[in-house]
Symmetry: C2
Subunit: 443 residues, 2 copies
Amino acid sequence: MSELVGYRGPSSDILKKSKVMIGDLIEVATSKTKYNGVLMPRYEYADDLHVVIKLSNGYNIGIDVRNIQAIKRISVGEKPHFTAPPKPLIKPNLPNIAIISTGGTIASRVDYRTGAVHPALSASDLYSAVPELSRYAIIDAEVVSSIFSENMTAEYWKLIALKVAEKVRSGFRGIVVTHGTDTMGYTSAALSFALAEVPVPVVLVGSQRSSDRPSSDAALNLIGAVLVASKAPFSGVYVVMHSGMSDDVLSVHLGTKVRKNHTSRRDAFESINIPPVAYVKGGSIGEVMDGLPPRSDSKDFAARPDFDTRVALIKFHPDFDPEIIDYLTSRGYKGIVLEGTGLGHVGGYCNSQLRLAIEKGVLVAMTSQCIWGRVRMTVYDTGRDLLVMGVLPLEDMLPETALVKMMWALGNTRSVEDAKELMKKNIAGEIGYRSDLERRPAR
Amino acid sequence: MSELVGYRGPSSDILKKSKVMIGDLIEVATSKTKYNGVLMPRYEYADDLHVVIKLSNGYNIGIDVRNIQAIKRISVGEKPHFTAPPKPLIKPNLPNIAIISTGGTIASRVDYRTGAVHPALSASDLYSAVPELSRYAIIDAEVVSSIFSENMTAEYWKLIALKVAEKVRSGFRGIVVTHGTDTMGYTSAALSFALAEVPVPVVLVGSQRSSDRPSSDAALNLIGAVLVASKAPFSGVYVVMHSGMSDDVLSVHLGTKVRKNHTSRRDAFESINIPPVAYVKGGSIGEVMDGLPPRSDSKDFAARPDFDTRVALIKFHPDFDPEIIDYLTSRGYKGIVLEGTGLGHVGGYCNSQLRLAIEKGVLVAMTSQCIWGRVRMTVYDTGRDLLVMGVLPLEDMLPETALVKMMWALGNTRSVEDAKELMKKNIAGEIGYRSDLERRPAR
């Protein structure tokens, strides 16, 4: 029975005996309870003692075969299929929006017969999966990569930035970039710098639950992203994701100020140290934060897509080993972003190594592992010592944004001093100057 | 004029000309505005172009002498003094509480004449500074260290743990540990493990604003900590700090589940993945979370205060350099806590180095940089690959708690396998099993 992909030994035996196949809706009875779900294939390295089913809430569970008393089929599985694509209602005045797919849950559908993830991103796929898109835009879809976002690197940031710039020059009125959520905050920061002064909105969007799950946020997020790309009065790089647990409001986060703050919730993304710049509700964009760069009709745009990846992010902790700093210096690192404690401190036992690194030309900057708030290194002696030796305080910049910005600054300058000046300059809202915005917005 | 500590050149000149001294309340007029504040001494490495005053809100500002039009004295400075200590109203039934001071803002008063921070921690100092303490307890005060908390290390954790155990054996009904806020979350985790099964409450407390500032949270936090130490029905290690911006509610956080989430706010500390175990309001402890270990009268207690500090915390990011893992392995590291992305991932380009580290006997475990939520490495191939090679998923454990726990586990076992088993065991509530508690509490 080749249908029982990945099962062997005891787990295969019990499934064969029960005459069920991958994709069937089955009931599994244990001594304690009964589970209903779709029988899933297993991963090649999986053990032989568990039967895995997808519950109706979308989660997979593994049930130990030694606890299983009976398995019965409730219904035969069907291959998942999209509904027939309706003819898109292309209204003459709809803007042209480019969707650039990089990979991740939102751009995929999981074939439960193989467990494989397939990109589903022709324009026709998109219209058929999410027919509402045709209300807002004429979609052009293009796949630039198909990777899990934990495998995202500066090389891909460059590809994406160049592709966005090309689309802008081709006259698209907005760009949507679909992306895995794991590193979407890093990429949104990277694009914010590489695409500084882009004349249209560039909207990153992801999904915390894959589109084969009933609780998927994929469709609503994508619709919201296309709506922002086509209608927003502002330009720049943003992330659009669920605002809360309900399905009716999306947040528009500034690309340099957003972070994934929960492993699984649909509202995992939060703006840090500022509120979201806008909310999307009922098909429209509400009140927009002051001071955002306006959208323009210019097609004259070039990216600055280079990053120097010889930059480390160091999260300081008690008993942090300062010789790691020496190691990075000797390894040719050009920058170190410290994630210090509190207002921007590290243990005094790191000072001599930091001093040496700076003397050797390494750009060292300070952020806070508190995530919220602002570094302020003049309050205590420890911070002042670091300032004196040349550690650059990065105000209220997120550590992740600081890392990406330093890679970009070193990739676009010829000297550490120039890179340092670029770090101090507010390029894409990464530095917030208004102290009344330092607070976490009420939730 | 030796009183103008730290001033030289132009800034010293203008102060001399204006006949003001450190500690004076002065008015500084610039072309744009006027500032009122107390003239502060300057740090030895300070430049010679700024006059620094402490504003009435407690913050210091530096004013460029080139913009100063005039300085005049409003009133002469006085040395700060405590009010005369009232005779503590020691009621016969009050419990004996030990306060152990480690340093940090809460335990200090800043002498504005010298800028030096002095520990102010005899019992009589405490009663006089915070007379309310005498309502709740008979205080015994002892200084074990006097350090900024960014200089806290496992060596100090051991000192503190041994001192707490000594106080428990001496019959104290509760222990308060005053601590700088920067690394208080790490220390509360360290004590949670080193003092596992302690029979009384051990309460860490800090202050985000020093006690010389009008907005200081020091007194209320200390009163709350003493109240919890003396009255709480539970035992174990906790952190007590302001719940919100108002001055009437404190949160009691489980020691393994608490994090400093803002650089400067008084309510910077938050419980992660669980609500606070209790709130303190109006001098009493409200409803208490189920399932906490009860307080007992036992005096039979010994700490397990050893930590092996050869453990690294690695925050993964795009283009993370996997050779750092090789370096740590070759340097004799015994453990690595990964702060992965999302549900617990790192780029596949780190896999061979991680596999090698594990083969060489390094204990490698996974947490998430999302901070909130739970790692779940069975959802995507990337996570399953890591599981197969032996990376230990740490559920909803905070990265900082995981780091400290691994130091402790390796310090109290003889083999990596034993340490791994200890990591999986829920010692002090560091692993939450209830999925309904995974959400961030409403605020």
